[in-house]
């Protein structure tokens, strides 16, 4: 079947099997391998992307379900080589170690700040409950998100 959607601002069209998962379409058909597959059971969040600006787990969606939507992956976050403020905050606060969960963390965190621009530390931890990191113990990830919130609102706590 033919599926059209916008990915990182570009119109894309591909002939896929109906059973194709969105994450496989993104990685294998579009070659955008920044979106990772972790648990493959919608628990870990490594595959988190945005559908129309809201975070979603692309391992638990069919490509067909995204037809006509506006999809953003981690590759679409930087603007002409300038990191997105959330990416910059992860870099400055050392919010990653092995980096496997990082694309999903960045996508979930930006979606969180869109809904709650000035979250408390507890709200950040709750908001990222669907994204697992096996390296950092979350401390620096939470710090990164709070830092990004501070940068964008001038009111976030560090």
């Amino acid at each position: 079947m033919q599926v059209e959607m916008t990915v990182n601002g570009q119109s894309m069209s591909a002939d896929v099997e109906p059973r194709t998962l969105l994450v496989h379409y993104i990685r294998d058909d579009l070659g955008l391998t920044g979106t990772n597959v972790g648990c493959d059971t919608s628990s870990c969040g490594a595959c988190t992307i945005h559908i129309n600006g809201e975070s979603a787990k692309s391992c638990t969606m069919l490509a067909a379900q995204a037809r006509g939507t506006d999809v953003t992956t981690i590759e679409g976050m930087a603007d002409n080589g300038t990191l997105h403020p959330m990416q910059q905050a992860f870099m400055e606060c050392h919010g990653l170690q092995c980096g496997y969960c990082t694309p999903g963390m960045v996508m979930a965190a930006t979606s969180l700040l869109k809904e709650n621009p000035n979250p408390t530390e507890a709200e950040v931890r709750e908001g990222l409950e669907g994204n697992l990191c096996r390296c950092t113990g979350y401390h620096n990830i939470v710090k990164s998100v709070l830092s990004a919130a501070g940068n964008s609102t001038n009111g976030g706590s560090q």
Binding site: E17, R19, S43, M61, A64, G130
Partner: protein, 276 residues
């Protein structure tokens, strides 16, 4: 994990979805958010031959004041339930329980109708529907019918919905100002409830309804607790009956005896919080 090969039909309307279901029989499955169905398909526990995608039927996503009840379109996402001022005021347990489902990314995609039609005994929203005394509207080739929550869940992952019926609306009686509670016991964030208890103290003299999560093959009302409360029992005495009439599952999280204990403890907490 990759689902088995399947055909895909996108329904342009509720009637088109029903026509597709009628044509394909029980080999077809409705696809809404997909957050219950796609995992089953990836594990090959479900192998429908046709998916009827209703996910883009925007006219089935709404939260409206229906007078004595709140009318919720079946395709309303958990996120929309969680943030609805109308629900927070008039059926607060629905907004709260929606916020306890999965995680934010799951709640952006998962739908109320999908969760209820899946009928998982371990999921949260069926208990909220039962405790609220709600109902669902099912539309089929011969028109609409209303199914009370108490008659919706018929077996493990089975509901009273016929193979050619589509759930279109969920109705929650208003419980403005009434006491309520949802006690979800799990060990990690975003896990399913090991056991859960929902209680809503009805404002109209119907007494308090208590529903249990993961205490049998279906989401269930606790009739033993309800009867005891109607008969004037204290919260403590009623909660002591919480495991009566249940058949709790056994798994790595706990055996039947442990779950029975949890049910009694959680129902007591729920009744206390709901002010029953």
């Amino acid at each position: 994990m990759i689902p088995a090969p399947v055909d895909y039909v996108e329904a342009e309307s509720a009637d088109a979805a029903i026509a597709a279901l009628t044509q394909h029989g029980d080999e077809a499955k409705l696809l809404a958010g997909g957050h219950s169905l796609i995992p089953l398909m990836k594990f090959r526990l479900a192998t429908p031959t046709v998916l009827v995608d209703i996910g883009r039927l925007g006219d089935l996503s709404y939260i409206n004041d229906g007078g004595d009840h709140i009318a919720i379109g079946a395709l309303t996402t958990h996120r929309a339930l969680e943030t609805s001022a109308l629900l927070q005021a008039d059926a607060p347990i629905m907004a709260h329980v929606a916020s306890q489902v999965g995680d934010p990314s799951v709640r952006h995609r998962g739908t109320l109708g999908g969760s209820l039609a899946h009928g998982d005994p371990a999921s949260d929203l069926p208990a909220a529907l039962l405790a609220s005394g709600g109902s669902v509207v099912a539309k089929g080739p011969n028109g609409e019918r209303v199914i009370p929550a108490s008659e919706l869940f018929t077996g493990f992952l089975e509901t009273a919905l016929a193979a050619d019926e589509l759930m279109t609306e969920v109705r929650i009686p208003k419980a403005t100002g009434a006491g309520w509670s949802y006690q979800k016991f799990n060990r990690r964030a975003q896990d399913w409830a090991i056991v859960g208890a929902a209680a809503v103290a009805s404002g109209n003299g119907d007494g308090t309804r208590v529903a249990l999560v993961n205490m049998g093959p279906t989401p269930m009302l606790s009739s033993a607790v309800g009867s005891a409360l109607s008969g004037g029992a204290s919260a403590a005495d009623a909660a002591a009956l919480a495991a009566e009439g249940t058949s709790p599952p056994e798994d790595l999280n706990g055996d039947a005896e442990y779950r029975s204990h949890l049910a009694r403890v959680l129902v007591k907490r729920a009744l206390d919080e709901a002010g029953s």
